[in-house]
Structure formats: structure tokens, C-alpha cells
């Protein structure tokens, strides 16, 4: 693996982790899932997807520690 690819994969990992820590899962994975399993459903834009996740994060009893 050359340096550029390594850098890109580390960056992708960091961004994905940072987003997940804020309760936002990977958008591309979700879109891929929708296309493969539910082609009849509309694909939300990233902004719509983000809003839905933001609401969902503070609904349940999950959350964080003391």
C-alpha cells in the first residue's frame, strides 16, 4: 500500500469514527443498503439523512456515560 492510499484510509477511518461518535452512521453504506435491499424507497439526501439521525440519537435511552 502506498502512502497516499494509507493516508486516505486513515482519514476515512477517522471521519467515520468521528461521525459515529456523534450518532451519524456512514451515509454511503446506508445508500448502498437502500439500493440493494429496498430499491423502491427514495434515497434521502445527506442533509435529510443527517437530520433523521440527529433526531434519533436523542430519543432512546442509549447515550453516554457519566
Amino acid at each position: 500500500m502506498d502512502a497516499a492510499t494509507a493516508f486516505r484510509s486513515v482519514r476515512r477511518w477517522a471521519v467515520q469514527t468521528a461521525r459515529l461518535c456523534c450518532g451519524v452512521p456512514d451515509y454511503e453504506v446506508y445508500v448502498k443498503h437502500l439500493r440493494e435491499h429496498h430499491p423502491e424507497r427514495p434515497v434521502p439526501s445527506y442533509a435529510e439523512f443527517f437530520r433523521e439521525r440527529q433526531e434519533a440519537r436523542y430519543k432512546g435511552t442509549g447515550g453516554r456515560c457519566c
Binding site: 461521525r19 461518535c21 452512521p25 446506508y30 440519537r57 436523542y58 457519566c66
Partner: protein, 696 residues
């Protein structure tokens, strides 16, 4: 043992023997060297060696023998993949997410308070507590949830133990949450009392968060990282501006607030923040605090490694006899109550059965995330302990002892603390306050300010500069306050949903979370519950932390005991009785600690009852005891202590009831000759489309 792993080669064996020898040597230096101060690096190295060995050997034993994690089995993320909640995710991403969710203010506060007994007792409890109890709890609950479609702790309790224990746990969690919110909010109050600089910077986080919220909503939707960087820059600017506010004759009085006023502000703030739409205030603040938290933990680690401070506190202080000023009570059981997060924390069982099991792509990765994540938190706790222990002992005790014991002037405080054997001059205390840009550092219990002074010292050693120490101090205060307030906002919301759920059991329509009236009512109840304890802490004769932290510790360890009891029941139900001691012994240990601590808080010299009696007797004799200035305030203190005593009684009762249910379930499962646990049936990872590829 039918372990799936390859037998280690000779090189690996030599490596592990070397780690064991280095670890034992460092631990020996930490534990046995007397008379001369030791460097913190010994302690850090010993901790790393213990964690690595615990992870490799005990963690692996739990994985293969007790949980029997199976890499060929399809996890919930694969079976129920919906692209949103259930997503097979890279193990390092899951690890980062899990760690960010479990690590909070807890591991930074408990060890600082426990340092009054010296650094050794706390260190040993963190190291061995986490390997044999804390990490086992997190890992086992995660493992159980993985086999049950990622179900929550409450759900698993209902399934494995019955509906009544489920309700017992639900009440326990709600009460624990109220105490957590009150105690954490009190830490903020203690840090900001009469500190215009600190109060200004923390207040500025509100407009900054609103700005971020608007930006994320309308300008650049969903750009979390970008907006967080903007937020961080604004935060640093507000720390810098705080100095001018503190120096200004007109602005300083506006932000110079007493404990009671700050408590009221926080109560009002908590109500608003959890009623407003989440995107406006709660979410942006959450993003900021998540990133700042990770960044600051890394910064603290760097500071300790680069500055390599000497530990100035004694290894074991005279206060192991229970006469300490920071919290009352003997080493047993109160050390084990005071350090909860970092050694074993019941709260983690909720997270380990929340989002994490829905993300793991393979059962073989559960040890790294569950066991390893908790070891990381223990490491944060060790760093907090180092930061506190590297302070001058006189400064440490001046910051953490209540005014009722050391007085309110530096002269009086220095004289009292010097009498304890920690010689300190009034000038040293004044100078410390001046260095960090505060008027006074006396009686700022709660961990945050102590850690902030410790961190500021360490960072100042590495990056010197005029006035920089005050900047670092307020940075550390801001960072702790920021994520405590995030916990308060989010916790109030979660508490509101729990209250609505419980109310729904009585009257169905109350459960409707979209109804505005139900929302406002449940939020008001939730805020009133934790607000009561917060206000009580603000007017407490012993400064609040001294009174409320043990209550929090008892509650948190109660939940850990419940989680470990569940794990014990499941081990027996799976007919793996040989290993019942793995979750069983830590469960018994926590039950013994919480019940003993609870009993000492109910009756005897350090109990809430004794405190109530003292004030009630004085009231009858027409005396006024500080800090009360009126008979009504005296009466309030009596009532508060009765409430605390009643709450302690409730926690003890919950544990005993849970223990009875557990023993009953164990007895029944032991007599049955086949497994009775409610695991989902085995599905091979290979047989699920797209499953095998995800587990690489």
C-alpha cells in the same frame, strides 16, 4: 481448553514473560518504595503492563471459556442489517465510538477524590478492579447482548430473570440517573463558584452551540467536523476573552455567582436545553464535547509522558483510617464506592447493550471493544490520579476539603492542613490561585478544579509562557464543564422519556412522547428531581460533594452489581457452572461494598442520620450551625439528610430484592439439566448474503 487460537510461538512467550517482569518490577516500585518520591512513569508503566496482560490472558479466558464467542456466528449487525442502527462496522470505528460513549467525567472525578488516601490504594483498585470486574462486566454484557439481537440491559433482565426484576432495574436506573446528573452538575457549580472567568467561558458555550446549530441546519447541513472546528476556535477565543471579563470592573460582577445562584441557573438551563429542538442546542454541544473530550484525553496523556511528574502525595496517607476531609469513611468500603467509573461502572452496562452490539461485525471483535474499551477508561482514571498526586499535597487538600473543616481564609486553611502533616504556607495557596487566574482555590471539591490545576501545571512545564497556566486551567475547567453539561442535557431528555414510560404504566396517554404537555410535565419532574439534589449540594454544610458522591458511588455500583448478577444467571443458565465465579465474585464484592457503605451511611458516626440528628438537636437548643443562618435553613439540612438516608435505604433494598431474584433463578437453572438461556439460534456467518465479507 478448546481455544480457537493458534498456540503462541517461543518469541511470543518470551515477549509475554518480559512484559510480566517489567510490569511486576514497576508495580513493585510503586507499591514498595518508601521515603522518597517516585516518578509517575513507574505508575503509568505498571498500569500499561497490567492492562496488556489482563487483556491478553484474562480477557481471552472470558472470551473463550465463559462467553464462548464464535467468529463463525452471524452477529445482529449482519442478521438485521438496516444500514442505520444495525450496520456491520470496522472494529476500530466501533472501538472509537464505544470508548467515546463510556468515557465521561466519572473517571476524572472519582480517582481525584480518592487520592486523599494516597495514590496507592486508588491505583491498585483501578488496576485489579478493571481487570477482574469492570472490563468483565462491560465485555459480558456486550457478549450477552450480541447473542440477543442487541437487546438492552432492561430487556435482557426481563427475559432472563422475569418481569419484576426488569421493573426493579428500571427504577434503579432512573434514580441513579438523577443522582448522576445532580452530582455532575454540582462539580460544575463547585468549579465556577465566584469564578467570573470560568463562568463567562462556560456561559459562552451556549451562544456558540446555538450558532453551530444554525450553521448545521441552514448553512452547511450535516458538516459536523467543519462546524466543530469553528466551535473550537470560538471556545478558545472565549477562554482568552474570559481574562478580560475577570479583570473588568463592570463585567466581572455579572459573572461572579455564588453556589446557589449557579445551581438555579443550571436547573433552568437543563430544562430549556432538553425542551428545545435537539438540533438547536443539545446536538451541537454534544459534537463539540465529544471531540474536545477525546482531544483533551490525548493531551493529558502527552502531558504526563512528556512532563513525567514526580508524585508528591504519599503512597498511603493517614486518611485510610476514615477521618479524611474529602469524603468520610474507611478504605473499605468507601474506596471502592468513590472510584466507580475507571474501575467498574454500572452505567457502562447500558451502553454495552445499546448501540455497540448492533455495530460489531463479528463476535471475535467483542473482546477488543468491550474489554479493551474499559481498559482504556481505566487508563484515563490512572492519568487523573497522576495529575492529582503530582500536586503539592497541601494544595490538593486545600482544594478538596470543605470550608467547614479548613475554614475560609488561606491562613486558617494552611494552618489546619499543616497540622495534618502536609506542610503548606498561606503564600503557596495564594500563589497557586494567582497562577491559575482565580481569587481562591479553597474548597473546590469535585475533581474538576484539582485536575485542572494538575493539568495546567503539566502543560505549563512543556509549553511555558507568561499567563499560560491560567489559560490551561480555564481550558481544563471549560472542557469538563462542557461535557458535564452535555450529559445534563441529554440525561434530562432520557430521564424525561423514562418518566413518561413509567407514567404510561399508570395512565396510557402520558406515554405519548410527542405531546407538548406530557413533554413539559415530564421534563419538569425530571429537572425537579435532580435539581433538588443539586440545590441540596449547593447549601450542604460539607460542600455537597462530600455528601452526594458516596450516594452516587453506591448507586453506580448497585447497577454494576445488577449487571453482573444478570451475567452470573446467564452463565448458569448456559450450564457453564464451572465459570460462575467469573461474574459471580465481582458481583458479590460489589454487593458487599454497596451494602456495607449503605449501612454506614444509614447508621453510625458518618451517616446521613447522624448529620440530621446533629442539626435537629442544635435546632431544638436554639443554636445555628454553619452554613445555616436561619432556623428554616437548619430544618432544610435536616430534611435533606433524611431524604439521602431514605434514598440509601432504597438502593440497599433494590440490591437485596435483585439478589433474591438472582439466587432463585440460579437455583432453578442449576437443577435443570439443559441450557435455558434465551439466546437467539445460531446462524452461520457464511450463510448470510454479504455476511462473510463483513467479518474480515
Amino acid at each position: 481448553m478448546h481455544s480457537a487460537t493458534v498456540k503462541p510461538g517461543p518469541a511470543a512467550k518470551i515477549l509475554w514473560v518480559a512484559i510480566a517482569i517489567v510490569g511486576a518490577w514497576c508495580l513493585g516500585v510503586v507499591a514498595l518504595r518508601r521515603g522518597e518520591p517516585i516518578n509517575a512513569i513507574w505508575l503509568v508503566a505498571a498500569a500499561i503492563a497490567v492492562f496488556v496482560i489482563g487483556y491478553r490472558f484474562y480477557g481471552k479466558f472470558v472470551e473463550h471459556a465463559v462467553l464462548r464467542m464464535d467468529p463463525t456466528r452471524a452477529p445482529p449487525s449482519v442478521l438485521r442489517n438496516d444500514g442505520l442502527d444495525y450496520v456491520p462496522t470496522d472494529k476500530w470505528v466501533v472501538f472509537g465510538h464505544h470508548f467515546a460513549a463510556i468515557a465521561g467525567a466519572g473517571p476524572l472525578v472519582g480517582p481525584v477524590l480518592a487520592a486523599q488516601m494516597g495514590y496507592l490504594p486508588g491505583t491498585l483498585w483501578i488496576l485489579f478492579g478493571v481487570v477482574f470486574a469492570g472490563a468483565v462486566q462491560d465485555f459480558m454484557i456486550l457478549g450477552l447482548s450480541l447473542r440477543r439481537d442487541g437487546r438492552s440491559l432492561g430487556h435482557m433482565l426481563r427475559e432472563e430473570l422475569g418481569p419484576a426484576p426488569g421493573i426493579v432495574a428500571m427504577i434503579g436506573v432512573l434514580v441513579l440517573m438523577m443522582i448522576v446528573l445532580a452530582v455532575l452538575a454540582l462539580v460544575v457549580v463547585k468549579a465556577l463558584t465566584h469564578s467570573p472567568w470560568g463562568t463567562f467561558t462556560v456561559a459562552m458555550t451556549i451562544p456558540i452551540a446555538l450558532l453551530m446549530g444554525a450553521y448545521l441546519r441552514w448553512v452547511r447541513p450535516g458538516r459536523i467536523l467543519e462546524v466543530s472546528i469553528i466551535g473550537l476556535v470560538l471556545l478558545l477565543l472565549s477562554i482568552w476573552a474570559g481574562k478580560f471579563v475577570a479583570d473588568s470592573a463592570t463585567l466581572a460582577p455579572v459573572f461572579d455567582l455564588g453556589a446557589k445562584a449557579l445551581a438555579w441557573w443550571l436547573i433552568g438551563y437543563g430544562f430549556c436545553a432538553s425542551v428545545l429542538p435537539v438540533w438547536l442546542l443539545l446536538a451541537p454541544r454534544d459534537y463539540l464535547s465529544t471531540f474536545l473530550k477525546i482531544g483533551t484525553i490525548v493531551l493529558l496523556a502527552l502531558a504526563i509522558f512528556l512532563a513525567a511528574p514526580t508524585l508528591q502525595l504519599p503512597a498511603v496517607s493517614r486518611f485510610i483510617d476514615g477521618t479524611g476531609p474529602v469524603f468520610a469513611g474507611n478504605l473499605f468500603p468507601f474506596l471502592f464506592i468513590t472510584i466507580a467509573c475507571g474501575a467498574v461502572s454500572g452505567w457502562h452496562s447500558i451502553i454495552a447493550s445499546g448501540t455497540t452490539p448492533k455495530l460489531l461485525a463479528n463476535e471475535g471483535q467483542a473482546r477488543m471493544v468491550g474489554y479493551g474499551g474499559m481498559l482504556m477508561e481505566a487508563f484515563v482514571a490512572i492519568m487523573a490520579l497522576v495529575a492529582a498526586a503530582s500536586l503539592h499535597p497541601g494544595v490538593y487538600f486545600a482544594m478538596n476539603s470543605p470550608g467547614a473543616i479548613i475554614g475560609t481564609t488561606v491562613e486558617h486553611a494552611a494552618a489546619t492542613i499543616s497540622q495534618w502533616g502536609f506542610v503548606v504556607t498561606p503564600d503557596q495557596l495564594l500563589q497557586t490561585a494567582k497562577d491559575v487566574g482565580e481569587q481562591s482555590i479553597l474548597s473546590r471539591a469535585g475533581g474538576a478544579p484539582t485536575l485542572a490545576v494538575g493539568m495546567a501545571r503539566l502543560l505549563h512545564n512543556i509549553i511555558p509562557g507568561e499567563g499560560m497556566m491560567a489559560f490551561w486551567y480555564h481550558y481544563a475547567i471549560l472542557f469538563e464543564a462542557l461535557f458535564i453539561l452535555t450529559t445534563v442535557d441529554a440525561g434530562t431528555r432520557v430521564g424525561r422519556f423514562m418518566i413518561q414510560e413509567i407514567a404510561g404504566l399508570v395512565h396510557k396517554p402520558l406515554k405519548e412522547t410527542s405531546s407538548l404537555a406530557g413533554n413539559l410535565l415530564a421534563t419538569a419532574i425530571c429537572v425537579a428531581l435532580w435539581g433538588y439534589f443539586l440545590y441540596q449540594g449547593a447549601v450542604d454544610p460539607l460542600g455537597g460533594i462530600n455528601t452526594l458522591w458516596p450516594l452516587f458511588g453506591i448507586a453506580n455500583q448497585m447497577l454494576a452489581a445488577i449487571a453482573l448478577m444478570l451475567a452470573t444467571v446467564v452463565v448458569v443458565k448456559l450450564k457453564r457452572e464451572r465459570f460462575v465465579w467469573v461474574p459471580g465474585i465481582p458481583a458479590i464484592w460489589l454487593i458487599v461494598c454497596t451494602l456495607t457503605a449503605g449501612w454506614e451511611k444509614l447508621s453510625g458516626p458518618i451517616s446521613f442520620t447522624a448529620a440530621a440528628d446533629k442539626y435537629a438537636t442544635a435546632l431544638q437548643n436554639g443554636q445555628l450551625l454553619a452554613p445555616a443562618r436561619t432556623p428554616a435553613a437548619m430544618q432544610q439540612i435536616v430534611t435533606n439528610n433524611h431524604v439521602d438516608a431514605a434514598l440509601t435505604g432504597i438502593f440497599m433494598l433494590l440490591i437485596v430484592v435483585m439478589l433474591a431474584f438472582t439466587l432463585n433463578a440460579i437455583a432453578r437453572a442449576w437443577r435443570t439439566n439443559h441450557p435455558t438461556a434465551h439466546e437467539e439460534p445460531y446462524v452461520a456467518l457464511d450463510s448470510v448474503p454479504g455476511g462473510a465479507g463483513a467479518g474480515h
